[in-house]
Assembly symmetry: C2
Homo-oligomer: 340 residues x 2
């Protein structure tokens, strides 16, 4: 089909099949009442000409575009990317295309994108962000689902990772290994990703009559801070002495990787002396760490898929409201289980 003189229209198919355009439409969409022979003839003609119905025309008369917007606050980074991919994946199944719109933290850009999506009459919008901290809602005349970063309006539909469950799983795992003195190292203290995980850890320990070892530490989300935090936790610990904790739960794989490195530097064995856990299951960190990290996979693609499902349901007239959590998955590796 190298020679495409112009694009094939329904009238071309109609002419070739010797029927009217309306008959072609009915034949290809399995509507109306037509003789099987006619349907077949039209189908063959469409096939021969490589007819692909014009979606813009279809959208116009259907009053919907079979398109949804994926509005990402940031530049589709490490967290929103999997969410976007999961969503896109789920949408394809529903014969729906995804319009990508990245705001790059610029409210003006975001507003511009929102207007553009509205103008394109998208059937719905999925909004994602860089953090799990609630964000201002957008106001548009179509369904919206917030993924990862929930809406500040509790009546909006949001899907967020269940960080509390993830950290509880970590604690349960560590306790099952006999660890009792568990320390915590977070990232930025002003972000829920740090505080929610901390609070869940404290709660889970409390249920077993235990307390967190040492003070919670907050810093930046970097390996450097992970190393530094280990120094702070160890204080004036000397090689050979038993450390004042037998496990450290880090709030990210980056922190945990840095932490592992520093523990090793200080002559402390992981996991024999101290078990280490990360969070995010970011392969380049969790697998490259020495030892590889036991961590929590937030299953963000699945979260994105779920958001898409909720959106499709809303488009279909079944809107949901409130915040739904998406379950994480504990991934056990050598940093807690010897050479497991």
């Amino acid at each position: 089909m190298a020679e495409t003189p112009g694009v094939v229209r329904i009238t071309d198919v109609a002419a070739l099949a010797g029927v009217s355009p309306s008959t072609v439409s009915k034949a290809l969409n399995d509507t109306g009442s037509l003789r099987p022979a006619t349907r077949a003839r039209v189908r063959e003609a469409a096939e021969r000409l490589g007819f692909v119905p014009d979606a813009t025309a279809r959208s116009l008369s259907a009053r919907r575009s079979f398109t949804v917007g994926l509005l990402s606050t940031d530049s589709a980074g490490r967290f929103s990317l999997p969410v976007v991919l999961g969503a896109e994946n789920a949408l394809v199944g529903g014969q729906i295309s995804a319009l990508l719109a990245t705001a790059r933290h610029d409210p003006v850009r975001e507003q511009h994108h929102v207007r553009s999506l509205v103008a394109r009459r998208v059937d719905g919008i999925i909004v994602t962000g860089r953090t799990v901290d609630p964000r201002p809602p957008i106001h548009v005349p179509m369904p919206v689902v917030y993924a990862f970063a929930p809406s500040q309006d509790p009546d909006d539909a949001s899907v967020v990772p269940d960080d509390a469950a993830g950290m509880r799983a970590v604690v349960a795992h560590l306790l099952s290994l006999g660890r009792r003195r568990i320390a915590y190292v977070g990232g930025r203290g002003d972000q829920l990703a740090s505080t929610v995980r901390h609070d869940a850890l404290v709660d889970a320990l409390g249920e077993h009559g235990l307390q967190r070892a040492g003070d919670p530490l907050y810093g930046e989300w970097s390996e450097r801070w992970g190393r530094l935090a280990v120094d702070l936790l160890l204080g004036d610990h000397r090689p050979g002495d038993p450390p004042p904790f037998d496990a450290v739960a880090f709030a990210s794989d980056q922190l945990a990787r840095g932490g592992c490195d520093r523990l090793r530097d200080r002559g402390i064995r992981v996991p024999e002396d101290v078990a280490v856990t990360g969070y995010d299951d970011w392969d380049v960190m969790a697998l490259a760490s020495r030892p590889p990290l036991t961590t929590v996979d937030p299953q963000l693609e699945r979260l994105g898929q779920r958001a898409a499902e909720l959106l499709l349901a809303a488009i279909d007239g079944h809107p949901s409201h409130g915040v739904e959590t998406s379950p994480p998955r504990l991934v056990v590796r050598a940093s807690t289980m010897g050479d497991g």
Copy 2:
């Protein structure tokens, strides 16, 4: 504007302004001949009603959708993602939206997406891939630009990173530091990213009458292989002895980071004894490495932008052909320059 009873149409604006729909169209698009007062009245009416012209209707009559497809062979991973973002960014300037389509290495999915994009009458398509290895072209009745992964058809328009230039810059930098015995560690030997960089290194050395130190090594794109490769390069080197090379050019930041770690393990100082360079400028690797890596930033966002520019030109009737290279940028850090 909480109450949006239905969407506002051009006739609603016309009614409010007391004019005909065609006049509204002319007023808002600055066409036709209207009195300034009329234009203003229409504008105000449109503003008041929050009128946003239906892009699907506009597309239908304009015979173009003001939309381009971003077709990604893989799941928009580490390499295609920046390309996609750069492209999306450049498109926004042209009032064009981006339809995201990820094929996930599945030819069936890819075909499905291509059909969908054609049906939606996208004005053009940008195709990206996971590697710089040439890929089969797609056949569609609209302009296509291949970004990162070029088309196998040399007549198609492609934009690829100039890896040879990147590696030449690395060599020039190392030579300027007085290094003369430069070794090379690649990733997978069956990928151009490994071989092109190697050949460029050998050529650049040759221009100065130098040869590569040791044999080129190929393996997987991992930190582990970076460490292993260093062991292979060192052979039976003993601590204290001068190593058989004074610099190692790695084909990726991951390899380089692993290499740095192993060099340090073996008691070799970076950069004093051996200078190390990476490739990609992947922040979580290049900055977290000890020491931080001198590396090459392929400027993939810029590459994506360039691809978008070429596509917009092609849509505008000025198609380009052949492979265009996008320049990289050398980023100097401590792994070659002391504590610079």
